[in-house]
Symmetry: C2
């Protein structure tokens, strides 16, 4: 029979590496997965959700409206509480006049922050356009850039965030090549980054925005900073860093992507964005075409969870649990991994990034990966987290280890097995 | 400052007419809206949702998993029960071998059926491609075609569905023009259509699929029928019509878009699609990029609502309420509308389509619309439901009247006022 005529986007949309990893999990029922980005199951807010939904549904005033359509932009209370919360987290006072970056009118509720990343990319990027992003970066975002036919430039990442000199060099090179007009944004995962655990220092956000601003004239249009703050609230050590919105005079170029999915309940998938005014209406229209608004019941749930104080209480309960898991995986890494493997103590989020000696390969087809699988332990090969960028090779000697989902014994056993495999491989 | 460089999609994504109508509602607090596509508020399944969520969340076996990520394709139980239910509705026996169109593996769970419409369009259509659709059609779908830069051809609609001779004529014309290779699908809202209330006879589905099949050779690829069955389960009169999936030997070209949003709870927004195998993996990947799966909690909710029989019981409770509303709006139309206005008694769904004498204009800028607004009554101008199609003019003398959301007194009063305005206008 004749073949389906897919669109260019359809043809470009590749099988995500994650589905291959998930298949591995199904095929190996006794597998310890250090790959999945699951949150801590025992601390999921079952009681809080149960009580709050009961409050909503038992009242004739709130029950039926929660089961009816809301608006495309989202529930008014949720928008207000979320915007206020961000202002407080950033320590920024309300601005006078129309320039308030934390105005609820700039807040769009989405289905997880992932939907916002998708819609922003749709709104700004044509095939062939350029997105700058961290080396390495969140690999699901790479699925979006790939499906939209975008070109990527990876920016070197230091332990305190983006290498600004490297960013400056890339921008300068793109300017020389006459490619700046194709650069639409810089995508950064700024808190306990997926996959490296790196948090971007505030001064680096300022520096990045200043650099982008400097090249805007040559680009002929704004170059946005898309700040993905998905893990921001899973902090258990180190200082609280304000978002890029707080960069005085530069925050108007920031698209802030946040979520209640990771810190509260991934099964509820309530995310949001704070958007520059000039983007807000277009992205809202796109949202209207996608689904004309996220599920109202879950928005009402999140609004009440925030208002009642249950959200803050939950965060305080969760932080020590992740801290404990991070400590346990750290102990196990010190005990079982060869000394030549480099990794960084996490301060939040759920990932540890391990760098093997440069010659050793960790990819899906590597001996290491296969040997780990034979010992029933799974990790994410680091090379999956690098964009296709013709200006550099993808490092192949890194691995992402998640400590969010596993129990303490699983973390210990998983790292011990992986350590044995590594030791054997490294002879 | 320099202007934002939106993508072509961003630039094409127009303000939806619905937001203008919603603004009207806000500006006129005493307005009776016969425009909004709301469902019947008092019969929303608050008790059913409350009990089911309580069941899920009180059990340690089901509570935490419901608040954790699910898979991109959707909850296994929900997929199975939904696919089985469709098979029963269609009265089709399980096929042997790999050709079973109702296999749960073909079912993708989405955020309302709207998200499926968006992703199917993304997967199949490039700018300039052609979509055939009913004249008139669901206007939110027109937002999708517009943002993707698609060309549309409107197919005349009779009281029992698509005018097949007209469809044949359009296909023949496109063949002559060498445009068939750009035709990707025929989009039909087959049950109690939004906006006309028309239900497509089963024989017409067969006829449409046969026609599409006949032109596939010249097109060089499959031409799909995207069957939007959003209102299927809101039936209160007339026969139960099988879906296009049941068209023997032709169902493999059918993309079936269904939803629990309209018949159960729009605030939960659980939709689904049954997809041809060759589309399933690409659309699932696109879904992965959109949001890697709809909210798990709501999927668990719907799965249990189906399994417990609460869903069927709810449908039986809801049908007479819509029947009553349809009867009341019918009585009011007979009592208050001039005899020259044509409309069709609804058998399901929530819309009545009224045709004024051809000279009279009903559009947003018409005297009629303004006069109605001055009397605090709002309708959807029919012209908003017609695609841009250079081969015909958009009729301007029609209106869509919703009876889903309004109370019986509101429906009576709204139609009475509109009748007075019409009588005055028609002199």
């Amino acid at each position: 029979m004749k073949r389906t005529a897919f669109s260019a986007l359809g043809r470009r949309t590749a099988e995500p590496p994650i589905s291959w990893l998930m298949k591995m999990t199904l095929d190996h029922p006794h597998l310890i997965s250090l790959a999945a980005g699951f949150t801590d199951n025992p601390s999921l807010p079952v009681r809080e959700v149960r009580e709050t939904l009961e409050e909503i549904l038992r009242s004739p005033a709130s029950g039926p409206p929660a089961l009816q359509y809301g608006s495309t932009v989202g529930d008014p209370l949720l928008r207000r509480l979320t915007a206020e919360r961000l202002r407080v987290l950033d320590g920024v006072k309300p601005a006078r006049g129309g320039g308030d970056l934390y105005a609820p009118e700039r807040l769009l509720v989405t289905s997880g922050s992932q939907q916002l990343l998708y819609m922003i990319t749709e709104a700004l990027c044509d095939p062939g356009d350029l997105v700058l992003l961290e080396d390495p970066t969140y690999f699901v975002y790479l699925g979006i850039t790939q499906s939209h036919g975008l070109r990527c430039r990876g920016i070197r990442l230091a332990e305190d965030g983006l290498d600004l000199d490297y960013l400056a060099g890339v921008l300068e090179q793109l300017k020389r090549q006459g490619e700046l007009s194709r650069v639409k944004m810089l995508y950064l995962v700024t808190y306990y980054q997926n996959p490296t655990g790196v948090t971007t220092r505030f001064e680096k956000k300022v520096g990045a925005l200043e650099l982008l601003r400097r090249y805007e004239r040559a680009a002929g249009h704004p170059i946005y900073l898309l700040e993905d703050a998905a893990y921001r609230e899973l902090r258990f050590a180190g200082p609280a860093v304000p978002s890029a919105l707080a960069c005085a005079g530069l925050g108007e170029r920031v698209i802030y992507a946040g979520t209640y999915s990771k810190p509260f309940a991934t099964g509820a998938r309530v995310g949001f964005g704070l958007l520059p005014r000039e983007l807000f209406s277009i992205v809202t229209r796109i949202k209207g075409n996608h689904d004309f608004g996220s599920a109202n019941l879950l928005q009402q749930l999140m609004a009440r969870v925030l208002r009642s104080g249950r959200y803050e209480a939950h965060l305080e309960e969760v932080a020590p649990r992740y801290a404990r898991k991070a400590a346990v995986i750290g102990q196990a890494l010190r005990a079982h991994f060869p000394a030549s493997v480099r990794w960084m103590e996490p301060q939040g989020g759920m990932y540890v990034w391990a760098r093997l000696p440069a010659g050793l390969k960790a990819g899906l087809r590597s001996k290491l990966f296969q040997a780990a699988l034979a010992r029933d332990v799974l990790y994410v090969p680091g090379e999956l987290c690098y964009a296709d960028d013709p200006t550099r090779r993808k490092p192949a000697h890194e691995l992402r280890l998640s400590f969010g989902g596993g129990s303490l014994p699983e973390l210990r056993a998983g790292i011990a097995r992986l350590g044995e495999v590594l030791t054997a491989q490294m002879g």
